[in-house]
């Protein structure tokens, strides 16, 4: 073997190695870019899960606050859910009617909450639910506690006295029910 062919072999070997090295580096870059993209997606999945877990408290609170719509088949059970008696308030179930059913929306999107609004038939004004209690104190105590319930929304409160008994008139009285 001459030194010329020897040198040629060196050149061939070096060229071969250089091609492989650049090819290898290029291949590595492509693969690691792909891996990086994949990792970003994975991270978003993990972040999603973390966010979801962070909301666990809130989900629990939601489920505890709102009765499910499908668990309430009729008017009577709806009134039972509100359970005026537990607040020292009395109403005439025969006059209560559903005034409207709406979707609670935030930012124009329904948030999975039905708002079932109740009113007493023949109540003065248009859409108020009439309640009475033996005394002012009992009425306010009951209305305040009712107002604190998450699944009950009250638009306005009016109180008047009729024949010596105070009558509470709750405007836009709605029961909020969770839905799928």
């Amino acid at each position: 073997m001459t030194s010329a062919t020897s040198r040629l072999w060196w050149l061939i070997a070096l060229a071969f190695a250089a091609i492989l090295a650049t090819g290898g580096i290029k291949g590595y870059r492509i693969l690691s870019n792909k891996a990086g993209e994949q990792e970003t997606v994975t991270e978003s999945v993990i972040r999603w899960k973390q966010n979801y877990l962070a909301l666990a408290e809130s989900i629990k609170r939601w489920d505890a606050s709102y009765r499910r719509e499908e668990s309430i088949p009729d008017m009577l059970s709806l009134i039972a859910v509100v359970n005026f008696g537990a607040y020292g308030l009395a109403s005439d179930p025969d006059t209560i009617m559903i005034q409207k059913i709406d979707q609670v929306r935030r930012g124009n999107a329904p948030i999975g909450l039905s708002s079932v609004c109740l009113a007493s038939a023949g109540a003065p004004g248009t859409s108020a639910l009439e309640l009475n209690a033996p005394s002012y104190a009992a009425l306010f105590e009951g209305v305040q506690r009712l107002a604190r319930r998450a699944d009950i929304s009250i638009g306005s409160i009016a109180i008047r006295v009729e024949k010596g008994t105070p009558i509470g008139s709750l405007g836009d009285f709605c029961v909020l029910l969770g839905r799928r």
Binding site: M1, W10, F16
Partner: protein
């Protein structure tokens, strides 16, 4: 000759070569055997054969004549010395000339008792003959005669040939022979000696470089692939998380919905405040003996037929503070009943409203024509403004 290169033409004369660890040794003369026809004689260690042509294609062609080369086996006990063959120098130099016609190159070594000539004959850029001739030592009186007869014989065989003489022979100073000195020996690679015909040793370093390239390639790709598959596995693990699956998979809009719900539940609820205020206002008025509530409405109905105001009263605690802005909507609508008194309605209203304001802490405004006398009692319709 390079100062560090030792020229060895015969091992009888150069025992010193055996000591030569780490040295560069040029083998010439009797220490090297080269022939196109003959096999390697005993006492010589076979080396990779040399091509008779200098091209790369010839190197791979089976038809290319090869020159058998052997090295005196005594060269092999010389430690770490690196060796080159003068023969290779002549051959390479001759092939490099690439000229038409015939050229005869004289090389070899001068020993103490003999001069061994290596004669290479090139025709049109290829080696057609390799001959070894033994002449007497240079100082011998018969040397010149033997040399001249040899040259004459070669002249007969190769008429018109160019005759060239190279180191380490000393210049014969003959007109018909061109002395080129050490030109063929320059740039010869010096390497450790290897036994055998295989050229493997020569390829070892290039092969190592190529292998390193392959290794680099494989490990780069392998490393990248590992990263990629690891990333994929991590993704699969994250997505196939049984917990995530139970939630019905990744759904960003669902997450948004949950966040909206959370914010919804955290919204301040005005109704709680309304109920509290209603209670506190009613309580405040109840402590006024003569006043009775006919009706209280929170929030006040927003229907305002006219904007005329009869009178505004603020609680004493807010005296001197900012008045109620004219365009502020009332928070409360109150209808109060008090026993009729001989005062004018407005005077009466001022007195009652001041008392109510001080008992409840809210500012009051008498609605336009907001009084009425009925059954011995006087009714006032008043708007209330709750102060934070």
């Amino acid at each position: 000759m390079h100062s560090q290169v030792e020229v060895v033409v015969s091992f009888e004369a150069h025992e010193a070569a055996r000591r030569g660890a780490g040295k560069r040794v040029l083998l010439a003369g009797e220490t090297v055997f080269a022939s196109l026809q003959h096999a390697i004689p005993p006492g010589f260690v076979i080396q990779p054969p040399r091509d008779a042509l200098g091209t790369l294609i010839a190197h791979f062609s089976k038809d290319t004549p090869r020159i058998a080369v052997g090295i005196d086996e005594r060269a092999f006990g010389t430690g770490k010395a690196r060796f080159a063959l003068a023969f290779d120098g002549y051959r390479n130099w001759g092939l490099r000339q690439r000229r038409k016609g015939t050229m005869v190159v004289f090389g070899g070594g001068e020993g103490p008792t003999t001069t061994k000539l290596e004669i290479l004959v090139f025709v049109d850029g290829r080696i057609v003959a390799v001959e070894e001739k033994m002449l007497p030592e240079r100082e011998s009186h018969v040397f010149q005669d033997a040399l001249l007869s040899l040259i004459a014989e070669l002249r007969l065989r190769y008429p018109g040939a160019r005759f060239v003489q190279a180191a380490p022979l000393t210049d014969w100073a003959l007109d018909e022979i061109e002395f080129i000195g050490e030109a063929p020996l320059r740039g010869l690679p010096y390497r450790p000696l290897v036994r055998g015909t295989s050229e493997r040793a020569r390829y070892r370093t290039p092969a190592a470089i190529a292998a390193a390239g392959v290794m680099l390639y494989a490990s780069a790709i392998g490393f990248g692939w590992n990263r990629f598959t690891a990333a994929q596995a991590a993704y699969d693990e994250a997505v196939n998380d049984p917990w995530v699956r139970r939630q019905g998979g990744i759904d960003t809009s669902y997450l948004d919905l949950l966040n909206t719900r959370r914010r919804y539940m955290e919204e301040p609820r005005r109704q709680v405040l309304l109920a509290e205020k209603a209670a506190s206002i009613v309580q405040g008025i109840a402590s006024i003996r003569e006043a009775r509530i006919v009706e209280i409405r929170l929030p006040a109905p927003s229907i305002r037929p006219e904007r005329q105001v009869e009178m505004t009263v603020s609680p004493d605690s807010r005296k001197g503070r900012q008045e109620i802005a004219a365009d502020r909507l009332p928070d409360v609508l109150l209808t109060l009943s008090v026993p009729r008194s001989p005062e004018t309605a407005l005077e009466h209203a001022r007195r009652v409203m001041t008392e109510v304001a001080n008992h409840t802490g809210i500012s009051l405004r008498l609605v336009h024509q907001g009084w009425r006398d009925a059954q011995g009692r006087r009714l006032f319709t008043v708007e209330g403004f709750i102060h934070d």
